[in-house]
Symmetry: C2
Subunit: 346 residues, 2 copies
């Protein structure tokens, strides 16, 4: 029975189990996947950085992309769920923007194929940034001369200031948010001293228990798939006390996006890169520590009652996935001279 359950559980992951083992022994790829119609340029990255940090993308000028995906930190807000305009709470934990460029589907439920698609969501979400329409965003950007100048220089043409081009610039910036040279990366590149003994034991537990059936690949988020093709698993797969304790089933996951019964409680497999820095955990941010998250995963996905020692070792291994954060200069947000765009909004 248990075996049956686990076979079901792994589903499509079974085929990638061996491949996953091989692929996961790799540092992050040097090349960041980049769509042909949005080549990365330094000017575009600079514009995207400004947009990412600009709270004027929200209706009342209080919330920027960075409010919930804090680039100065773990790329998250380290809250269970985020806070948008007017103190409103979102329903899901903010995924980190660091290394998101390596994911083949975006959002917890994979409902956006690319970084470009993803970045179009929050500005229009009524509990996040609350802009009423794409046109309203474009109108606001168009009233900031420094943006108009940059959009025109970068995207050319009559409608250079567009919602699509805003998304392209933000995505280009996000493709620069890569953390390399973690202890794990150094280890698999040949520096056998980069992982502590405990982390090496944790790596073994991680692999032998089957964690890497799903958390495979250089990004520990599954096999490298074409953009838009997400790698999903049911969570929780085994029923346990955790379901109720952490309210894990209330959110129906990908089903909410597709309304397909097969997607009930299915979630995109998240990357484990920098996982030690992005507490709290899971789609609802209900688990506060990495130690507890490891126990929940072992039980809920692998039906294992993991020992204290094994859990601590896996945590040590997961800590080796924290990379180096590149130094970034602060953007200067273009001014609206003599006026305030959000000045009439109380």
């Amino acid at each position: 029975m248990k075996q049956t359950k686990r076979s079901m559980l792994f589903g499509s992951a079974v085929a990638t189990l061996l491949a996953g083992n091989l692929v996961s022994a790799a540092a992050l790829p040097t090349m960041v996947p980049t769509p042909a119609d949005n080549p990365t340029t330094s000017e575009k990255v600079e514009l995207g950085k400004q947009l990412f940090f600009d709270p004027r993308l929200s209706i009342d000028g209080t919330v920027s992309c960075n409010s919930c995906h804090n680039v100065m930190s773990s790329g998250t807000d380290n809250r269970p769920t985020s806070v948008g305009i007017n103190g409103q709470r979102g329903g899901r934990n903010a995924p980190t923007v660091w290394n998101a460029a390596f994911l083949s589907a975006q959002f917890w439920d994979g409902r956006a194929a690319s970084l470009e698609d993803q970045s179009k969501g929050p500005p229009l979400n009524p509990i996040e940034m609350g802009m009423p329409s794409e046109a309203a965003v474009v109108e606001r950007l168009s009233s900031i001369p420094g943006y108009v100048e940059q959009f025109n220089a970068i995207f050319k043409g009559k409608n250079a200031v567009s919602y699509d081009n805003m998304a392209k610039a933000i995505a280009a910036f996000e493709r620069t948010l890569v953390t390399r040279n973690s202890p794990y990366d150094r280890y698999v590149s040949g520096d056998k001293t980069a992982l502590s003994q405990q982390a090496q034991r944790g790596k073994q537990v991680f692999e032998q228990s089957g964690c890497n059936a799903c958390h495979s690949g250089a990004n520990f988020a599954g096999p490298a798939l074409p953009t838009g093709q997400g790698f999903y698993q049911k969570f929780p797969s085994n029923s346990s006390g955790y379901d109720k304790k952490y309210d894990l089933l209330a959110d129906k996951g990908r089903f909410e996006a597709t309304k397909d019964e097969a997607d009930m409680n299915m979630w995109r497999v998240p990357s484990l890169r920098n996982i030690a820095l992005t507490a709290p955990y899971f789609h609802n941010g209900s688990v506060k520590t990495l130690d507890e998250a490891v126990r929940v995963m072992a039980k809920a996905q692998l039906n294992l009652d993991i020992s204290d020692k094994d859990a601590a070792d896996v945590v040590a291994f997961l800590n080796s996935l924290s990379g180096e954060f590149p130094e970034i200069s602060m953007p200067r947000l273009p001014d609206t001279v003599n006026n305030s765009l959000v000045g009439s909004i109380k």
Copy 2:
């Protein structure tokens, strides 16, 4: 009658009128006023920068100093009043943090003597960052290893992680936030081409109308006074339609801090540096454009019905006070590994 009113209005400013004229023909001082007990060091500035950008100084991890005093922009949030935790609205317009180091009193009502004193306010303000006590802030900082390490290295001693030292670090960072080399600065340093003809006309109007009776000195905020000794004026001084239109009298200003009748509707004279970038205007942020702010000031303080041309010229002059913003590297906020400090706060 009008004359009497203006004499009353100027009060202590009369004596500084001539001095003001002389002093205002100066670029910002090279030396930033710095208290003897808080010398600026690069390590302290770096720590202060981290603290300034860290939303964990707020109870729910959503509001940092930078949320309302945006260093990537004008040092304000360009909103009438700011938004704190839980979507709560503050009562006064956020003053810019740029060049605040040159002011001898902080806050609109001057209730804090120094940058150090000022920075202790918002974390404990229930509608701003909402921390329950100084001890709670210190406890939170103490639970972030990267902060403990820096506080110990910089401040030494048994209680290195303290609320006072937090304030010292933030103030040290703020003393680096100086915008130099504005067109005006270049003009008074000898480059007579730095101001347009219109800006030069505006400068004349500004001086001949008496704006510089109060907005004197290199910071256009009054005479250089010892720390803690603010330079205050009544606003509005003359009753006009603007009082009601912009609800200028509802907030009693410095009276709210001192309960002294003589302080009724008295306000610290704000700097005009970068004023073109910090819309909306006045203590309640009720005036959206600089042009209208100039008209209100002319009428409410000088009882002048300024002409359209003069107002436009003064706006051109005020635009010459926008300085150069130094490039700043983003801080990396110290992590709480495997855990989240605000993880249990929904």
